[in-house]
């Protein structure tokens, strides 16, 4: 029982990441009709927003303390991050919370990146075949990740969670089990809650705003909405910006769980596409449900008990499920007829 609970918990954060990426992918297909292979790169760029903010915040002021000497007899260098010397304790807190704080930076940055990408490239591909869209965005993804590699190097850059969220929480105790059975890293829980919040935000936005209504109508029937004389172009741009932002935030918050490196986007992209297909191309609830479902299934598949019966199952479970779903339910769990099918 506790083992099962633990695996479900373990799957939630990864599932949250899948769901967030898949959500953005689905919105982009649904409204713009574009298959965006660079979506994983946006996830990665978000993660590197956190890296950049942390790097900026930790820029240090170096002073020499003549009263203290090092072992070599030179004056001791005292390194204090500028934020601390300027803001004192608040600076320390700022540094500690660099990951959540970088959200404030990432929102405008990712929106901007999305808008530039849509205006500069994607919009020329609305009328082109899906194969062309896949190819051009695949190229873009490579370019983006190579740029990041050039700027930040090839090695993963660990991003610590804030001190308060660093520990473990004993989930078992909370549900009345013995202590020590279901111990769960705090940040993963934070990530799960964060992903739920963002998903809720996106759904609320689509459900309750006029803008969202037009987007949903567009997903149901793109041509008609265009015919209604609604300025579809501008909305497309904004939609793409939002999708980019969601992917970016998903990546940013994931950094304490997985130290970001330049190719993390590609790794997640392939899985997220599978998630989208499993959920049903064009279905937002499908994308979310499939994201969590696959995250949890993956974590079950990596249990030793399962692996001893089906060796290697943890490596292929997601793809296997995708294959089965696509063959049994061609349109995915919640897909509609006729989306992306020619």
């Amino acid at each position: 029982m506790d083992a099962i609970l633990l695996q479900i918990l373990n799957g939630l954060d990864k599932g949250g990441a899948y769901a967030l990426i898949a959500l953005g992918l689905t919105i982009t297909f649904g409204t713009l009709g574009v298959v965006n292979f660079a979506h994983g790169a946006l996830f990665m760029l978000g993660a590197f927003c956190a890296v950049s903010v942390k790097a900026l915040l930790s820029l240090e002021q170096v002073t020499e303390d003549a009263t203290q000497l090092t072992a070599w007899g030179t004056p001791l260098e005292v390194r204090v991050p500028y934020v601390e010397s300027w803001f004192g304790d608040f600076g320390t807190v700022l540094l500690d919370y660099s990951v959540p704080v970088s959200i404030l930076v990432a929102i405008p940055v990712m929106l901007l990146i999305g808008v530039v990408m849509e205006r500069g490239l994607i919009r020329f591909f609305y009328k082109r075949p899906h194969a062309d869209q896949i190819l051009v965005t695949f190229g873009l993804a490579i370019v983006l990740q190579e740029i990041v590699k050039g700027a930040f190097g090839a090695n993963p850059i660990p991003q610590p969670a804030p001190d308060v969220a660093k520990g473990m929480i004993d989930f078992g105790v909370a549900v009345g089990m013995d202590a020590g059975n279901v111990v769960y890293p705090m940040w993963r829980l934070v990530y799960f809650l964060f992903s739920v919040a963002v998903i809720a935000g996106v759904f609320a936005f689509l459900q309750f705003t006029t803008f969202g209504m037009v987007v949903r109508a567009g997903m149901a029937d793109r041509e008609t909405v265009g015919l209604l004389g609604i300025d579809v172009d501008r909305r497309f741009t904004i939609v793409f910006g939002i999708a980019a932002m969601v992917a970016g935030l998903a990546g940013l918050m994931y950094t304490p769980i997985l130290s970001p490196d330049y190719h993390m986007g590609m790794d997640f992209l392939v899985l997220s596409f599978v998630v989208v297909v499993v959920g049903g191309m064009g279905s937002l609830p499908g994308a979310v449900a499939a994201g969590f479902l696959l995250g949890i299934l993956q974590s079950f598949a990596s249990m030793n008990e399962v692996k001893s019966i089906l060796p290697g199952i943890d490596q292929i479970i997601i793809y296997l499920i995708a294959v089965i779903i696509l063959l049994v339910r061609p349109r995915g769990l919640m897909g509609r007829k006729g989306v992306m099918e020619h």
């Binding site: 896949i134 190229g139 050039g150 599978v274 297909v277 292929i316």
Partner: protein, 380 residues
């Protein structure tokens, strides 16, 4: 009577291809590519791309998983070396067959769907193969280390023929001719000429016509009484066999096989080769493969020293600036060039280099004709 000869243009194409391959060491020398390792890559990846083009270029089905068959071909060939003989012929025959067999199974499943669903399915299968090769299949693939020859391999056919390689690690040889260096290149080159010839035949056959019809309008083809599924599957299997063969040849010239050959970025590379050259054309994929392998080789060899020398003629600050900018794109940064190239081609030249050539030659022909007309008008 059914003649089995090609049209004049196709014969010229085949003759030209044969000439370029056989004369490769001399023709490529001025470009700095006249050495066997690179020449081998040209023809091997040429085979891979030509086969991929039979699927993607003709039917329009975009597979993102063909590297899996390449990897399977390599593993098969190395196993053939280990168990049977160091002779490359059984190795490549088995690699081709196994590539085809896997393609038949995977293709049968993936072709239940079309469009992007098909692409995702192929991607899923390739990733599964890759992940399995790295994990549970380690007894067959030797996991991360990659599959290698060892001196104590059984090689039963060689043993039966009384052939003993002594204490050294054997390398592949065709009845005594070693398969590295130029002989290896010529072996691969001859195989690639045969493959190219077969591709021409497929292109010009009724079967090829049906494949092009699938790309053009699959619905119409169905309502015209043709069952598109087996046609697409046959194309998938043929391209899987080409990929298996290419993978086998990679192992022939360098007898080891690793899982990274199956990664989906490797599948992306063959897509790029095909598109860059011109999907659906005969020569395009070969050219695409050549260009990419050439630049990969040249670009990734560049380092700061070479760049500094190259920009030596500039004043120092500008020299440094140029070196810094260009070094982003070469050496380690070669992939950046690759990605950018991908985008540029898809954006500006969807028909690939072949379309570029055609446009260019049409332009030149137009100018020439214009001149001639002008001249004759003046003359009249």
């Amino acid at each position: 009577m059914r003649t089995l000869t090609l049209s004049r243009n196709d014969l010229i194409l085949l003759a030209g291809y044969t000439l370029v391959v056989l004369g490769g060491p001399i023709i490529m020398a001025p470009l700095g590519a006249g050495y066997p390792d690179l020449l081998q890559k040209f023809v091997i990846f040429g085979i891979f791309a030509v086969g991929f083009n039979i699927l993607f270029g003709l039917t329009g089905y975009l597979s993102f998983g063909h590297a899996a068959f390449l990897g399977i071909g390599s593993y098969t060939a190395v196993w053939s070396f280990k168990l049977l003989t160091m002779n490359p012929l059984p190795a490549i025959v088995l690699a081709t067959l196994l590539g085809g067999l896997f393609a038949a199974v995977i293709g049968y499943i993936c072709l239940r769907r079309t469009g992007i669903y098909f692409s995702i399915l192929t991607l899923a299968f390739a990733q599964m193969s890759y992940n399995l090769a790295y994990s549970v299949l380690t007894p067959i693939t030797n996991g991360e280390t990659g599959l290698q020859l060892v001196q104590s391999d059984p090689r039963i056919l060689d043993a039966a023929a009384g052939r003993d390689y002594g204490a050294v690690l054997p390398s592949s040889d065709l009845f005594g001719i070693p398969m590295n260096g130029y002989p290896g290149f010529y072996f691969c080159g001859v195989v690639s000429i045969v493959c190219f010839y077969l591709a021409i035949r497929i292109f010009r056959s009724p079967f090829g016509l049906m494949l092009r019809a699938i790309k053009s309008n699959q619905n119409r083809l169905n309502y015209t009484g043709l069952n598109t599924q087996p046609y697409a599957l046959a194309a998938f299997v043929v391209s899987g066999m080409y990929a298996g063969l290419a993978g086998g040849l990679l192992a022939v010239v360098d007898p080891l096989a690793g899982a990274e050959r199956m990664q989906w970025t490797a599948s992306g590379e063959v897509v790029l080769m095909t598109i860059l050259g011109g999907a659906g054309t005969l020569l395009g994929p070969v050219i695409g493969a050549g260009v990419i392998k050439y630049f990969e080789n040249i670009f990734s060899a560049f380092n700061e020293g070479i760049l500094m020398a190259a920009f030596d003629f500039l004043p120092e600050p500008i020299q440094h600036l140029m070196v810094n900018v260009t070094s982003l794109f070469v050496g380690e940064g070669w992939h950046l060039t690759l990605g950018a190239l991908f985008m540029v081609i898809v954006i500006f030249l969807p028909g690939g280099l072949m379309e570029g050539f055609n446009r260019l030659s049409a332009l030149v022909a137009g100018i020439v004709r214009g001149r001639r007309d002008g001249a004759s008008a003046r003359g009249a």
